[in-house]
Symmetry: C2
Subunit: 335 residues, 2 copies
């Protein structure tokens, strides 16, 4: 019997992970064989979606991780964390928000993670903690030109508050793990595309929007040049990464340092060409090209070519091509 907590459990990735876990009914924890999921706590600032909240195994805990929420929720969250065998820590302010509001990023990303790790340490139950980090930890700057590819040894060099905060959380997680307070595993996600639903405040949001909106007959704005190179993963591949991070035996996972999720390297122009192939030329004509220097600066600072050897060892691979990603997205929204 396994008790799971997902922070950010009401968000896009958290609720998708929750659905996957509930459908499977079991989770393998660090190579220990499949174990029945007896409890799934979705902790977020907003209540869990109705389909999830309706599952008898699910509890929705509403509150702000950085301060533990309202007294009632705080107690509920504390109990959930103290009982958890596995915590997926996905709650975060996204890149665009953190650039716009420095204090929000420090609070929602750094302080909330500090509070979470300290709670788990105090519980003394040594849970497995999967942390959704980001390849936004990497970046190009005057002293650190673009590498040919990013591998598991590439030094973080964040050029955004979001990326800096992810590095800080990785370091905290690794040190709590090294000290034996918990078993942390950080996996750096690449940009997810195609994200279903509404646009969010991530600087990379347009990498879903320029596909999602035209497919729905809506106009979308692309703030970067067509030749901009990016690394992407479908929602399915991101979820696979998070699940592998929970399931891999220690010897396969490796040490306390983070693992880079593989990414499909493509360009915005290639994405739009794939959109045309899948949905016809009319879809691509719904994109308005309106340059945004701030977004372009962020996106250009992120390397797009990866060699993710540790992820490959875990059986994780990049999506085969962007056409496949679009078709999977279409199949999903048409359900």
């Amino acid at each position: 019997m396994t008790k799971v907590v997902i922070t950010g459990g009401a968000g896009f990735l958290g609720s998708r992970l929750a659905r996957e876990l509930l459908a499977a009914g079991t989770l393998e924890v660090a190579g220990g064989g499949p174990s029945e999921i007896s409890r799934l706590v979705l902790a977020d600032r907003v209540p869990a979606p109705a389909d999830l909240a309706g599952d008898a195994r699910v509890a929705s805990v509403v509150g702000d991780l950085a301060d533990g929420g309202e007294p009632g929720d705080r107690a509920e969250a504390a109990v959930a964390l103290a009982e958890a065998d596995v915590v997926f820590h996905l709650a975060a302010a996204v890149s665009g928000e953190c650039e716009a509001d420095f204090d929000l990023g420090l609070r929602a990303n750094v302080q909330a993670t500090q509070v979470l790790l300290q709670s788990l340490r105090e519980a003394g139950t040594n849970p497995l903690v999967v942390f959704a980090s980001s390849v936004a930890v990497f970046g190009v700057s005057a002293e650190h030109p673009l590498p040919d590819f990013v591998d598991d040894h590439t030094a973080p060099n964040p050029q955004s508050s979001y990326g800096a905060q992810k590095v800080i959380c990785e370091q905290l997680l690794a040190d709590y793990s090294r000290k034996g307070f918990l078993r942390g595993r950080a996996i750096r996600l690449v940009t997810i595309s195609v994200r279903p639903g509404k646009p969010n405040a991530a600087a990379t949001g347009f990498l879903s929007g320029i596909i999602r909106e035209p497919l729905a007959g809506l106009r979308a704005t692309c703030p970067v040049q067509p030749d901009t190179e990016v690394a992407l993963a479908s929602p399915d591949r991101a979820i696979s990464g998070l699940l592998s991070a929970a399931s891999a035996p220690d010897e396969l996972w490796g040490d306390h340092s983070p693992v880079n999720l593989p990414g499909l390297t493509t360009t915005v122009a290639e994405m739009v060409a794939a959109l045309g192939r899948v949905a016809g030329p009319d879809a691509a004509s719904l994109i308005d090209w309106v340059a945004d220097a701030a977004v372009a600066r962020l996106v250009r600072s992120w390397p797009a070519r990866f060699r993710s050897e540790r992820a490959a060892r875990l059986g994780l691979a990049a999506d085969p091509d962007f056409d496949t990603i679009i078709r999977a997205h279409l199949a999903e929204v048409r359900q």
Copy 2:
């Protein structure tokens, strides 16, 4: 006219830096030409040494940076920080303390730095902030074997809480700098030897003790094997690094990423041989070799070979050899 604050200003490195600054009377700030030092505030948990406190330019502010100290001191510290043109942030709990007391490290290193940076941001005066980081950010682990040498592109991989906390502070400093809240410069110091004075709680303290104590006719304990390779800098070279970090023009310093101080690569056996050459065979016989697995683990996790190209660009070089370091130490203690 330049106003300077040194956190940890009553410590070994802080008070040595203060003496150097007071003797020079001027400090060049980011290539702006020598400027007279009108005020030097030494902020620490203990009062500044008498020789410093007696200088009319010096103010000693006593308090805990992490909470700003007592109300009176807090106001004094806040005024000092708000008026500072240059802040040398040296205050820290050392490696051995942080391994022994996890909460102390988080408080004295991470939280204190957060409070300091936030104060400087709120002051809105855009001071130059030199942060004494450490090559303890580097480390060897299962997934990250020892590199042939550490250069400015090597990824941090700390194997100690102290090292992890230094990475976190580097990231905070770089992001505050990128946002334009202050002008941060992080310089990673290597182990300083020979440190004068009493032993401290750094895991590397013995690298001074095995020289300093025998020279004073006292016994000293060496907790690692003689073939242990280490990177060292004399106190003078460490101070030169800190001063260069304050003085270099922006274009020479580079971007917001940290600079590694050059280190003299040697072994404990070579250090003891140098002690014999400088002070005679009797001195070396005062060393007791008593293995300490915890200290050995930490020290072995730290790379000892560096190629510090950015530091070389700043005119910083490693000490020529350990004999020279011992002779300089002897000359000083005999004054």
